[in-house]
Symmetry: C2
Subunit: 281 residues, 2 copies
């Protein structure tokens, strides 16, 4: 099956599961659920849940049984976007062509929408954890990736960083702010299937780096409509456009090398590498 | 043993456990751990962990083995204070006589300190969950109390509320914003000890209500140094000072009634009721 068609199948499957989860969210006051759903259901490529579901599929596991974990992954990603867009953080008025959460609902509600999504994700994780040792370990993996030794640390380092930061700082930000939450869905799939978790982690870390460098390149080209990221430490500000492009090519090649050594059919994951690398072409 | 001495023993025991947990937090960048610890180690009565540890003790469980859950409880409470103090929420410059987190570290870092503490709490919960069914259930209880059908919902309702709100709205805010996180430690103790969890929930809900109404009375008297809460929906704005005082007395009496029917020695918990009711005297 064509890569794009398969991607769309996983994405649409996830979208249905997410919509169902949202329909079950009858919260009081209504604005709490509204603000959470506004950002959750704003589309996007859903790359993290697609990585999770497709890796489970490739490993021979029944991915349809793991939709709560997929929803939890996307909830944590979405909370991080809402808080990251706040005026005190990246101060973005728009996200995916729509008003950002705080522009739509006000800052207070946006902070709570983020808190709510993170809390809701952990409700799901603790419920899934009762299914047994592998689910508990997968939940712990996601928690570690999202937390103070993962994504939150990356966000914090990004907030502290200036354009004059060094390559080591940038690597830390990329690995933690973006990399951990790209790698975690793959590692979780490996844990649930009982194999290849560490190989998938190695692949996920490279893919996460590739994802973030491509993001920096997109920003530099102004292709995301957000304009440039002047004054920020990025792969482009540090290495220049040409070197950043070369770095991205090298990472894509390293991803392909790791995938070649996998014990399962990694054709779909190779397609994702192409998708990520090709975003600015 | 005198109630105050016993309270101080539990509190000091917890304080040591919390300090140890903080010493283990070697995070990068340093400001992330600093900002988390600044609010975590700012003193206070530690009423939630003390309720948890003392209830375990009263039920005959070994409370010294449950310090990670006690730390998780306080981390979640602390994250909620940091986010609640933000300009977009309650806009408080001071907390317990010190600068609030965002006044000390800036809004961006304060948002991340809150996110970090919530994430860290769930790292602890998912680790404890691996100890068995009771620990998993206790972790789920705390997650539910803190989340979108608990504390976050209460915060959201509080943010929406105006001084012209009705008694039902106020009851919802009190029960969720404060009550759930006062009741949860008691319910968790019951779950871990394998008895009296629902009786402890009934008691905790009343105690939480008493706690919040006493808080409203403190605010009205200006005794917390924050001045009045003009324009906010509180027990005092809704019922007037005298009725609110009477309501508090009634709740304290109901708490005592529930405790009399407990199958364990509830003298310490009765002391806590007196402590909470007596805060403004």
């Amino acid at each position: 099956m064509n890569f794009s068609v398969r991607y769309e199948l996983y994405r649409a499957f996830f979208e249905r599961a997410l919509t169902e989860a949202c329909e079950g969210m009858r919260l009081r006051p209504p604005i709490l659920a509204e603000s959470m759903k506004y950002s959750l259901l704003s589309g996007g490529k859903r790359i993290r849940p697609v990585l999770f579901l497709s890796a489970l599929d490739a490993l021979g596991a029944d991915y349809a049984k793991e939709t709560p974990l997929a929803v939890a992954i996307e909830c944590i990603h979405t909370y991080s976007l809402i808080h990251d867009d706040l005026p005190a953080m990246d101060n973005d008025d728009y996200r995916r062509g729509r008003l950002s959460n705080h522009k739509m609902f006000g800052e207070g509600n946006a902070i709570l929408a983020g808190d709510g999504l993170l809390s809701y994700a952990f409700d799901l994780l603790l419920k899934e954890a009762s299914r047994g040792e592998r689910h508990l370990k997968a939940a712990q993996e996601l928690s570690a990736a999202a937390g103070v030794a993962g994504m939150v640390a990356g966000q914090s380092a990004d907030l502290c960083a200036t354009a004059s930061g060094d390559a080591e700082t940038l690597a830390f930000i990329h690995a933690n702010k973006t990399g951990r939450m790209i790698a975690a869905p793959l590692v979780m799939a490996g844990i649930l299937a009982g194999r290849q978790a560490e190989e998938l982690r190695a692949f996920g870390e490279k893919l996460g780096l590739l994802f973030q460098i491509t993001d920096d390149l997109l920003d530099a080209h102004g292709a995301d409509g957000k304009g440039n990221e002047e004054g920020k430490l990025t792969a482009v500000s540090l290495f220049g456009l040409e070197s950043a492009e070369r770095l991205a090519d090298d990472l894509a090649a390293e991803c392909a090398d790791i995938l070649k050594r996998m014990e399962f059919d990694a054709a779909f994951l190779q397609g994702v590498v192409g998708l990520v690398r090709g975003r600015n072409s």
